[in-house]
Symmetry: D3
Subunit: 292 residues, 6 copies
């Protein structure tokens, strides 16, 4: 008997290991002159990770790796799995072991966990708000922090949303600039779709970003698999969606916590939100330490 | 005849090159299936980077490197140097050259520039608000994005603030947890300061974080070079600062755009603000492309 | 006026640079004791790359990089672009410059060019043979040499074929083992397709590998976008393809130069051939050197 | 009591680890969208590696590492050690553990094992054929796949042959081009040998490649330690070898499964064969999976 | 109950692992043709590390890592911890396990241990000699071997001295050239100190190198935290030190085993000695092996 | 017309680039807080590298690279090529360009040049002293600084000596421990030589280290190509060498500037000296800067 495939596949251990090692090196955690001169290497202690605001837990595995790299004797016990929503004051994990290593790794561990929990928490708000409007799936964008994309996409999943393409290879999405480039060569939208279809691997769908209802109609006529409606209001979106029942539509642009409900109510299948990753504030998490 | 030493020393080229290469690889920009199948490699074009909100310019050199790595023929001309404040609608830089490479690098270039301009812009608000209260210097913290610290510290300088220590090696700062660790061993604050002084290189000052006026008095008595007053209100801070004129004081905790003016008015020399780097929203920058 | 998007996008320069540097290090080309003890560093010479067998040119840019890394003064002039078919005895490129560096880089340069030209040449035979049968597109597989995939896929394009998905991320392809895994959990093919559709980014099509006409019918009924018919003869393939006109079919397994024509004649849209990359013999290329 | 030194020293673990990690990254095995969306991470299974053709086993340790990197819980049991000759249909190893990781690593594991077993199997044919002619030792060349030399040399040893020098540092071998370079400077073969002898470390022998019996005589007269007879027929080789009993001779060029027997019969000590590594077809190995 | 903070913090394991791996690769220890052809991989043995001269033990952990990387079955037992002074003939550690791996790693292990023990031993002589003169602390400089700084600083600590700043970031030290640069711009020493104070993080002290008593007086007047007296004799140093009791003074230049005692007797707080790291001869350590 | 092959082949540019980049990172030269806060980035200056002791110039190319990496505008002009002997006070090179970058790179540049010039200078003494005794060639050993072997071997060549094998792959040298290992298995010296001959590539000679005249006779009888006489006095060496005219002999152990002359007089062909690299003191080189 086995479970179902997980929606929350964690970034693989090697990616975690590498990112954490780079962050510890950046902080020169092995040269922590304060701790090395004031805390004996064999003093023990314990600590609690406390959420100082309500939100979605994310990044505890990565935090654990930061501690583990500075000392294999530091043991982190997770009380709430990534993806859990917790209230202010909740202890989401505990740690025990050599105190000096704990202090040297603390900042790096929290820098990861606070950022990812911040993204997961904001995502949850978008997902809940969209659900009040309709069945649209909230997805992220490629507007992620350089170097942290796999982690931030994971945080988005922890928050209950879904991922758009990961990078420029696993999806065809012609943007306004691609169409403008074609237009300057005297090539129309339908030809662009044909070129993409002919040149891309047959495993990829063809998605086309459009700015107007007329362009949307062109894209549908050109047999695009997915049409991205950029910066259109709900009243513009709705008739487009209703008029092409076999096509997948994605809305983007001008999406925020005030507007997403109405956009979801248009019947659009997907809503992509850049703010999930480019503008989520950190969530406040404290490590309360108890030395022995 | 030469200028004065710069406050805005840019991260060195190798750091820029490496971070940009990693970001382009993460986005698999060399495998941009959309552009490769729809835009000929020899089509030319130009573009303008337009600020869609008022703010401080930051990160244009890094954006330039992203384009340069995909094509040495892409030329970026900067109109407003990093650190400039510009109004909504300003074109801060232009680009010209092969269109396909421009489109493949666009997202990575903007991901850097939007994040760094966001930090610089928020920093500027803090600096201006603090200046209304007094002469305190606003400084950042180590609460930066893993992997991007050198860039984010640069953005903080572009916004008019100054940097705290860069990492765990270039400053001694005993935190509450270091003191608690000592206390558990029966060691008092004065002994901790002595240990740090004896163990650290003589090129480093000793800074001590304290939570109460009593601890602050202990730190002053122990001859700490700098005392960090954590989470204290202006009325608590003022008498401490006034009572120890030869000591440098830093305030932190609970600092936001509403409170910083009053904190600056206490006479404290330094105010550190984690939000500068951990919670600045991206600034909206567009690349408007004109194909030829 | 610009050209059309290229079918032959070359692996990007950084990938070439890295692979060549690794190969030169592997051969310890900078420690070439023979050349260093017998050829003065300033002796000049020229050379000709001669095809000792007829075939398709591929890999000259990579060979050029090998020479360039050992001496920026080595200049390679290409007479026949990658993708050209040439007869036995053709000089496809010439080289001139410092002789010692030329000799130290020769083996690495040829190791790349001979392998890639071998793949391109074999691919061309498959493409020509398939064209005698019908309009099917010949595509490669992921059965490439570890570390050289981007180069070998390029060689396949030079030979006139097209690429399948590049890796496990840019295509969904459920294989027999995925279906067997599902079956062991009591999950049928249609549910597998639904799971993949729900979990994968909306930019990806869903392809299903099947072994029997019954499975093929299931896949079509489950709305798979592409159906891979594995190890079926032409007489089995033809009715499946003709019976589902809106579906894309790919044939694989048991494809060789004797069978591909008949398979192409079935009307199948795609034929994937592992041998293009896993079993192409090197093409014999000589560097004929003339010292000065 | 210990064994004798092994002829089959395996590439060291670090080299295996690095090559496998690069191959898994190339295949983006940690982003296997098909498996992640259709197979639960905790479903278990087993599998058998079956040789679909007779041949020499090689590369199982490397395949094992591929599985281990994706899941430390995948256990590979080897039934036939590298170097064993097995008949069609033989199960050479079994695997058990998490099914999803097994499927994500399968292609990389097989890409290594099929290529290396292909080389080992072809090598064995050459060795057996040469043995029918005489006592000559079959050796490989530097015509290996860039990045895989240590593995391919190991495969050659598994096939029963021996290795020539590994790279440009661990052997002196003046080729026709070195002699031509000298000749253009008015330097004769004997002087080239003297230069190499004077300049190379005293731990290296001096080998000279020659094209004619006259050159061979010159090389012998110049006291070369080893003389490489390039592209000569058996009737040319035999008298040269017989005429210089104290010298080591190597034959190369035009060696194939049809000619090697006669070359071996000339009494030459070494026969080098580029085809062992540059043109061996992959051996067909299947992973038959049984999900639980 | 815990110990006090250690003066001997060892370079972290990752740094050790990386440096050792690079050294083994440099020596191509995995391609040890002598050992591979003459020692069976399963032959066991033991060995003793014997000091052939009296001195301070240093680097045994690094040596241990070299053996461990070639075989996890090699076990090193340390008899004298790093920092111990031992007489000629002392066995400081023993090793047991596979003999072949032991021989392949031997040179790399000893290259580290001999160099670091040489530094530690020379340092001890300087420390003892200085102690005969006064209480001055002996410190090292940045004149270390490229790539080995962290290890050599550790050796200095093992020898009983202390470390100066680690690098150009964790200390401000204006040298003669900085002052000359300022002077050429018409800027005086006091302004240089002010610039450094204003621009550097507040966690750093300001140290000023001076060549004359007049400059020393300027530096004291400018409120420099530390003044480095370069190339001055004891009779010059003494009055400067006595004349500014609240300032920290460091002496450097012309310091050797003959002069350090008199310099220490001047009352100067710190004496920096480049020779500790740039000119310490290796200490002779042998690995006496006993095969089984 | 070309020159003869060089004895002084410089380590290749990539090796220089990598080692210098690592050294600058180790020194955090891009974070030089002193220079950044006191010297404007556009101030220019020049400088002279002055030998403060007589010796052999070595490492100027590497020093040049250190400056170039911090600023491409720094130009180094070399007055005395590597390998030149110069008197105290000689200016061996000059530099001009941005002063700040010059100061930030100075220490790294000098750390390389002082160490390598120290090795070259000591080597020259050994070579001159040996020449007074006879024709023996002085060679180095593998007792080099981890990470710097290629550079230190180059310094040895600059000093007029020659290199032994570079690493464990490019030479067979059975040491006392290999013979002891064999002996413990009941295998004699002659069998060890045969094993090595059979297992190593045919491009390698077989060298055997021996401790006694009896062992030396065994090695000669076993047809070893080279015999290394370890720790024997001149009177022991001479008869061995004279008794086996066709064999190459190398002396090692107990070689210093007092003994090398007599050893060279025995007629031995090679003398290897570990001290060349493991115990050469740095040569004092100053960078005298003149700001503009």
């Amino acid at each position: 008997m086995t479970s179902t495939p997980s929606d929350l596949a964690h970034p693989d251990h090697e990616a975690v290991r590498t990112a954490v090692a780079a962050a510890l090196a950046e902080d020169r955690a092995s040269f922590d002159v304060t701790t090395q001169t004031t805390v004996p290497p064999d003093q023990q202690g314990s600590g609690a990770f406390v959420f100082r605001a309500a939100g979605v837990v994310c990044g505890l595995e990565i935090a654990r790796e930061a501690f583990r790299q500075l000392s294999p004797d530091l043991r982190v016990e997770v009380a709430y799995e990534d993806g859990s929503f917790v209230e202010t004051g909740t202890t989401v994990a505990t740690i025990a072991g050599p105190l000096a290593a704990m202090l040297s790794a603390e900042r790096v561990a929290l820098n990861f966990a606070q950022r990812l929990s911040g993204i997961a928490s904001l995502t949850r708000q978008y997902v809940e708000e969209a659900a009040r409007g309709g069945d649209a799936t909230v997805v992220d964008t490629r507007k992620t922090t350089p170097g942290l994309r796999a982690f931030e996409r994971y945080a988005v999943r922890c928050g209950g949303a879904r991922n758009h393409r990961d990078n420029l290879q696993d999806g065809v999405l012609t943007k306004d600039n691609h169409l403008a480039a074609a237009s300057a060569r005297g090539v129309d939208l339908a030809s662009v779709v044909r070129s993409a279809r002919a040149g891309a691997a047959h495993t990829l769908r063809i998605e086309v970003e459009v700015d107007t209802p007329e362009q949307a109609a062109d894209a549908v006529a050109a047999d695009a698999d997915v049409v991205l409606l950029d910066n259109m209001g709900p009243e513009t979106i709705r008739p487009i969606v209703e008029g092409a029942p076999g096509v997948i539509f994605e809305a983007s642009g001008g999406v925020n916590l005030e507007t997403i409900r109405a956009i979801a109510a248009t019947g659009v299948q997907l809503i992509s939100v850049g703010a999930l990753t480019h503008s989520a504030p950190s969530l406040d998490i404290a490590l309360d330490v108890r030395p022995e």
